[in-house]
Amino acid sequence: MSSSADEVRSGVEFASAPYCLDADTAEAYRRANHGPRRRRPAGGIHDDNSAANKAGFVAPIAAGEQVLAVMAQLLVDRFGMGFLSGGRIEIAFVKPVLFGDTIVAHARIELERSSDTHLELAIRVENQRGENVLLGTAAVRTSTA
């Protein structure tokens, strides 16, 4: 874990670099995932206007997994193996991300919920309008105990 003692005060916040989730990054993410044997024709909420509208969205939406990946990457960059080995994350997607949105992941240390072995964090991802699109909690291991 790379944080200094000064950085683990309760309430300390840190954030990722802005990440523009446009068609190119969505395609790069799709190609990086091993797609399943197709169980339905192409044309869903992630790539078809009509399908997105029927599901209640104004336009095709980005995959929530990619938003979560941006959040998780912030925790890897900050805590390294403390997150990769013994960390956890629990989130809800509270607002859709549209292609072209720019998102920023945020984490805030919550010492009052932390233990001797894990540091607890409140996490969120917001879009360029300042709206939260993901909310949740995470924990990172601080010791081998």
Binding site: A51, Q66, Q73, I91, A92
Partner: protein, 147 residues
């Protein structure tokens, strides 16, 4: 005559306790590189082209879709509502992994059909737990609506 005996992906076919998988794969440097690239990450833990690389923690989050696709066909897809992950050990390039899942919960709330799928990935040789996670999703109906 079709040899596809998968169930249609409909609410009535999703039952609590239904086991999905296993699926098997080997973690590849190509996928690690592509995934890190999609996130624009240059984190050295992912190897940067050298050996002994670790996989980004959510790189195999999509395994739930592979588990579902092994058992179900058709449907209009779903909307990802919630997710939780426990990272026990990172996946490593070259590691053989087995992932299994269970549909743990199905329910209707405010007219929407939800299902929860818990799944875990283990080292295929040692059986050591790597990642345990759960997705909660709203299943779209045959009209593609969230109800």
């Amino acid at each position: 005559m079709s040899d596809d005996d998968r169930l249609p992906m409909r609410a009535e076919n999703l039952r609590e306790g239904m086991s999905l998988g296993p699926i098997h794969y080997v973690v590849t440097a190509e996928q690690v590189g592509a995934f890190a690239g999609a996130l624009r990450s240059a984190n050295p833990l992912y190897g940067g082209g050298s050996g002994a690389a670790l996989a980004p923690p959510t790189m195999r989050l999509n395994d739930y879709a592979l588990l579902i696709a092994e058992h179900f066909k058709g449907g209009k897809g779903g909307v990802h509502a919630k997710h939780r992950c426990e990272f026990h050990q990172p996946m490593r390039v070259g590691q053989a992994v087995t992932t299994t899942g269970t549909i743990t919960k199905t329910y209707r709330q405010r007219g929407k059909f939800y299902f929860e799928l818990e799944y875990e990935s283990r080292d295929a040789e040692s059986g050591g737990l790597l990642v345990r996670q759960a997705i909660t999703s709203v299943l779209l109906n045959e009209a593609g609506e969230m109800r």
